[in-house]
Assembly symmetry: C2
Homo-oligomer: 251 residues x 2
């Protein structure tokens, strides 16, 4: 079934007012008069709908509603350093497919491509998030934001999360499985719920500096490896999230 | 350290003859006379080298050698259906970063973008594999090939692998963790070694047809889910491989 998101203020008990953009999209789909589609409120409730009138594309009639079945039981945030070219686009798309809750961009020492207009970049990535959330059947629209420089980002992550993981390619001792086993022993569902905000911090193409790694260690943030092969900056957060989703039975 | 691959026939006990392309690359890097670099034989042996003469870029002198530390303990093959645009490029790059052993392209019913010149496509992807293998520090160069149509591919996968997994977005019962736990219980390293060829089969943008799913079931291939969110055709094999690498302690 085709999927759309609607602003919660446009949803009444029986009907939903669709956005102009979604109305145009629905028109182009040439739905049959009784063809069902899903409108999600972006807050994990999904409404099965049909068009009110087959030639009017702005009003959807609600047939039934249910909770989204696609949201994971863990809430993960990806703090991702600015990267060149379309690397962020790629990472953002894959993170949304995998079930990320929030994406936060930041600056670090070795970032070689910090956009002149950061709010524009955020808006562009938020657009990719929306399209991907529809395609992958998400029940929420993950938010994209910008947290500032490295130290501000570490402070925010520590305030917002129960567990913060700092990924570093030169770390050789602590791997992601050890740390996840320690915090979320298999089957310990309560512990997962108690620790449900997990933050993933990953660097730019050039990696983090030793000073940044030491700063994270000084804040008691575990510095974690993703294996012995070097992952590109857009791959690391996706692999980290895939591992967390796998570990917590969300794959 | 910079990394290169050399043909095993060009490696003698004390020196390595570099390819014209690598020689040009080394020239452009302006290495210091004593600067070390790594040349790998593509068979998991790595040679630490310097240039024979600082202004000659075709001969490397071997200082020491060691086994590659980056190859995973499981050998995985990704059977991946033809997909549109740069989706295959992306999947191939990420699979190599994550430690894939071999990539095999195939045709299935819903493929909308089968290249006219398949050998050319294979060559192009093999080029991406080589560049990625250097960047990510692989000890081998994973091979790209083409296996033919769907049924030929299933036959090949069954012949070549100890465990074949068929990923299907509409599968609701069997998830990847259940099947990996069943075949590779935690810590059962011998069992992993006995079953070391794992094949991952994933479909095109439009997914597999019900007939294709039934055909796989009829051959006793487990039909497996990757969770309740719909993954794009280029994301599914990467997430499946990340899960396998995580499960088998290779992340």
């Amino acid at each position: 079934m085709f999927r759309f998101f609607a602003d919660i203020n446009n949803i009444s008990a029986a009907a939903i007012k669709l956005s102009d953009e979604d109305s145009k999209h629905i028109r182009s789909l040439r739905l049959r008069p009784d063809e069902k589609f899903i409108v999600c409120d972006g807050n994990s409730t999904e409404y099965v709908c049909t068009l009110d009138q087959p030639d009017k594309f702005t009003n959807a009639v609600i047939i039934s509603s249910h909770n989204s079945k696609s949201e994971p039981t863990v809430s993960c945030k990806s703090y991702i350093a600015f990267s060149k070219g379309d690397r962020l686009d790629y990472a953002v798309q894959k993170l949304v497919e995998l079930g990320i809750n929030e994406i936060i961009l930041f600056k670090s020492s070795r970032c070689v491509a910090i956009p002149h207009d950061i709010p524009k970049k955020v808006t562009r990535l938020q657009r990719i998030v929306l399209e991907t959330a529809k395609m992958s059947g998400r029940g929420i629209i993950p938010k994209v934001s910008y947290s500032g420089d490295f130290e501000e980002t570490i402070t925010e992550a520590l305030t917002e999360s129960k567990l913060t993981l700092f990924f570093y390619e030169n770390e050789e001792k602590l791997n992601i499985k050890s740390i996840l086993n320690q915090h979320f022993p298999d089957g310990d569902e309560n512990k997962i719920n108690n620790n449900k905000h997990i933050s993933i911090i990953t660097g730019p193409e050039g990696g983090f500096t030793e000073q940044e790694v030491e700063y994270s260690r000084s804040k008691k943030i575990p510095v974690v490896s993703l294996g012995s092969r070097v992952l590109r900056s857009e791959t690391a957060p996706v692999v980290a999230l895939a591992a967390i989703m796998y570990h917590t039975d969300n794959l």
